[in-house]
Symmetry: C2
Subunit: 162 residues, 2 copies
């Protein structure tokens, strides 16, 4: 399969300058405000966005290290298959966060509950639609016991590129 070229459409700003100490999911960052700045050529695509309370940010983990098939995630002490985790060191380091949308002013979205590093390249924004995106799960594997800890556990530097 050929490679695909992706061009960031903007940048995400947050208070987090370093990976160590960051929340590991939006649930651990509920009160954290951020800004999503969309490059002007794409700003017209933000029409109608202000009607949604939540949006999905798709972004590039620009500071992560190389792909590892097994990782020790922030919420566990065992090695887990990478795809069974949300760790950033993925073959295609694409991240996904659901955040609350506070306002849209021209090409700038104010959001809340942001768990990404300041300067993260933005790839896409989608509206969060509960009927499509909120699923009742039957099983959450190794995260069954530990997902709740994402409310308070913080990241460290294990997946960084430096």
């Amino acid at each position: 399969m050929d490679d695909i070229r992706i061009n960031p459409i903007g940048v995400i700003h947050s208070p987090f300058k370093e990976l160590a100490g960051m929340p590991i999911q939006p649930v651990g960052a509920r009160d954290v405000a951020g800004q999503v700045v969309v490059a002007p050529p794409f700003a017209d695509g933000l029409a109608d966005m202000d009607g949604f309370s939540h949006i999905i940010l798709i972004y590039f983990f620009h500071r992560t290290g190389p792909f590892q098939p097994k990782v020790k995630p922030f919420l566990d002490n065992a090695l887990r298959g990478l795809f069974a985790t949300r760790a950033p060191s993925r073959p295609n380091p694409i991240g996904l966060s659901v955040v609350r949308l506070i306002s849209v002013e021209e090409n700038v979205l104010r959001v809340q509950g942001i768990d990404v590093l300041d300067g993260t390249p933005l790839l896409d924004i989608k509206p969060y639609v509960a009927r499509f995106d909120a699923v009742m799960t039957d099983a959450e594997g190794w995260l069954t016991q530990t997902a709740g800890q994402a409310n308070f556990r913080k990241a460290d530097s294990r997946f960084t590129d430096d």
Copy 2:
């Protein structure tokens, strides 16, 4: 910002050979079975995946046309800002579907509720974790009235590249 190079890590198989007539969201494809074939170099990353009832597939809309800032989505007759829709004609045509995971056998995942075209390039797989991904929304903009129609409305060729 520099461009980012993405390499598909596998391919998604579904019964849908053409965009016209396809379900437009997994909710309209609950009984549709598909296969996610992960390329062998990444298969070790699937460990622990079988514990999850639902997964997030991230893929490339390989048959979509060029970016349009305003689109008439399948669920509306008005033009809407692209980012306020799930239409595929995005600046970075990255798609996202939550599907039920039926089984994992070596590098092949059997899934249910698949709403993508056969042959779609796979970019990433993440476990669906309700505590991270299931959000109670307050507002869903133009989709408030029409999201339910995704249960039965089908796609047509409006966003295809041909």
